[in-house]
């Protein structure tokens, strides 16, 4: 038994012991639901009756029906746009905070960026509609300035609005990792680039950006994956053509009484985003190794 006593004091045992409450929690509340969703996706439902015979029918339907294909493609497209816009918006801000803001005031800026998110998400979306709406803030200002004569209608109730609203919601989550990556860049690397003959732009492209890539990749994954799952934003600001696959998943789980199909759609969507994310990470692998 001394073997066991020894094991109990070992690093291995201490680690497992310490992690176990969190792990047990995750298993109970995450593994079980996940397993259920996976099981569900191989069953069928007819109105209210669940048929538990194994079938691939849901997946076949999910991947072959044009409507799901369209929604899936649209969701990927919107998520990609959201991610791109988010990163584009976030990068300069992270850069500014990292390079231009004095060290002491950096935490304050990080605050500044997170504060607006202490209001309810639903209210924010609702207010976005006020901003982007027919006589909303944007149209009002543009009309007032005489830039346009008719209120713009392409800024609300379509995919643009979904992209803007989601980008707004996710931008702090993108700023933080990019900021961290930029903070980690040894400033002497930038001086070295300058010393070796690069002007500011070339230096940015050859050194700053590649070294910030780990942050950009993290931000991309953090934004891209959950965006696919959001069904509230598309429903509220998406208009007729802004619906995404998650709206369909929601519908299957709720109104359409077809949870199995919903599960298959959800798992398919997760699979797709994971693949896309992995490919993205893989494409950037050279920036991710060797940096701590």
């Amino acid at each position: 038994m001394s073997g066991f006593a020894k094991w109990r004091r070992s690093e291995e045992a201490s680690g497992w012991l310490l992690v176990s409450p969190t792990l047990v929690y995750s298993i109970l509340l995450l593994a079980a639901p996940l397993a259920m969703v996976i099981a569900l996706s191989f069953w069928t439902q007819d109105y209210l009756d669940l048929d538990k015979t194994f079938t691939l029918k849901n997946y076949i339907e999910a991947w072959s029906e044009p409507i799901y294909q369209t929604l899936m493609a649209r969701s990927l497209k919107i998520s990609a746009f959201v991610t791109a816009l988010t990163i584009l918006l976030a990068f300069p801000v992270a850069y500014y905070v990292s390079f231009y803001v004095p060290q002491k005031r950096k935490p304050l800026w990080i605050f500044l960026i997170t504060i607006p998110f202490w209001t309810s998400y639903l209210m924010r979306i609702f207010l976005w509609k006020v901003i982007l709406g027919y006589n909303g803030v944007v149209n009002g200002s543009l009309l007032g300035l005489g830039v346009i004569e008719q209120p713009l209608s392409f800024i609300l109730y379509n995919q643009n609005a979904v992209v803007v609203t989601l980008a707004h919601a996710w931008v702090p989550f993108a700023i933080l990792p990019i900021f961290v990556a930029l903070e980690k860049i040894d400033r002497s690397l930038l001086e070295a680039a300058e010393d070796l003959g690069d002007g500011p732009l070339r230096r940015f492209i050859r050194v700053t950006l590649p070294l910030a890539m780990p942050g950009v990749v993290a931000a991309t994954v953090i934004v891209f994956i959950p965006t696919i799952g959001d069904y509230v934003t598309p429903r509220l600001v998406g208009g007729p053509n802004g619906l995404m696959i998650s709206n369909m998943i929601e519908l299957q789980f709720k109104k359409a009484n077809n949870a199995p199909l919903g599960a298959a759609l959800a798992l398919s969507a997760m699979f797709l985003v994971s693949v896309v994310s992995l490919v993205f990470v893989w494409m950037n692998r050279k920036y991710l190794v060797g940096q701590k």
Binding site: S188, L189, E191, E194, D195, L196, R202, R206, V289, Q291
Partner: protein
Amino acid sequence: MTDPIIRLSGIDKFYGDFQALYNVNAEIRTGEFFSLLGPSGCGKTTLLRTIAGFEDVSAGHVEIAGQSMDNVPANRRPTNMVFQSYAIFPHMSVAENVAYGLKARKMPKEQIKTAVEAALKQVGLAGYGDRASHAMSGGQRQRVALARALVLKPKVLLLDEPLSALDKKMREQMQSELRHLQRAVGITFILVTHDQEEALTMSDRIAVMFEGRIGQLASPQELYRRPVNREVAEFIGVMNFLNVSVTNGAGGTFDCEIAGLGKATIPAEQAPGGVDASVTAGVRPEMLTILSDENSRSEREASGIVQDVYYYGDMTYYDVQLDGVDHPVTISMRNTAGRTVLSRKDRARVGWGAESVLLLK
């Protein structure tokens, strides 16, 4: 070229209200190995960075190879830098790092390849080009940084404490390699260091800095043998200070009474800063000798008690309290064959000579 390659005239540098450099003037000769030596925070890095162009000067001018560097940004100066942290680009291979500056110059690919290979060979890294730069050890990174700068054939190579991150063995090896490399390429090197041994062994000339000012600019031997003041003497090597009363200052010599040692007549050249009431006598530890046996004799003799013995293997340092002096002097002895090492509390005869005493302010 015998012209100075770099001429610094009247350089002041302010960070906000804080003045980091005070009216720095210096000329650095073409092809020499020049060091900036001084305690932490004295402005060495700041001075180097104003030469490189990373910092604007607040007043004064930097001239490199006869051309004013006012308004010339770092990326267009004929200098290159080896950073303390090496600043090797972690996302590039060794060869890409070395090629970095050449690509900025839009050199044709083929030429770049040859130049990079030559540079890597020069620093002893031939064949390492394809390695990922993060897979290199400290000393190897150091070499990559050197190759990356040298491949651009700068007029001046600037090195900011390039060896301080290395361990002792590696540091000594790189010191010798750097020295050889500098001789081989013939480029002017300016080295920043706070390690006096490093500066002494490597440099042709050294500028010793204190609080933003150059205290003395001279060759290693001159600095060590003829420091212009106490501050320099204390910073370079070990110096024992003893009270002295100068009784006579005529005829180019000074008659002195040195506490603990005795009387001596000292030529004026051994008082580089002149003589007044504030002067003290300085003696290097190796200029004093422990006369260990009856046979050994010295021109002059003093006597004291061994307070502490520091055995270094090749050397032994003794702290000896001379009779009539209340703090001990340090004496270094080489542990040559057969010489016995004294112990604490032993009485010691100390030999000295007038030619080894400096009068310092």
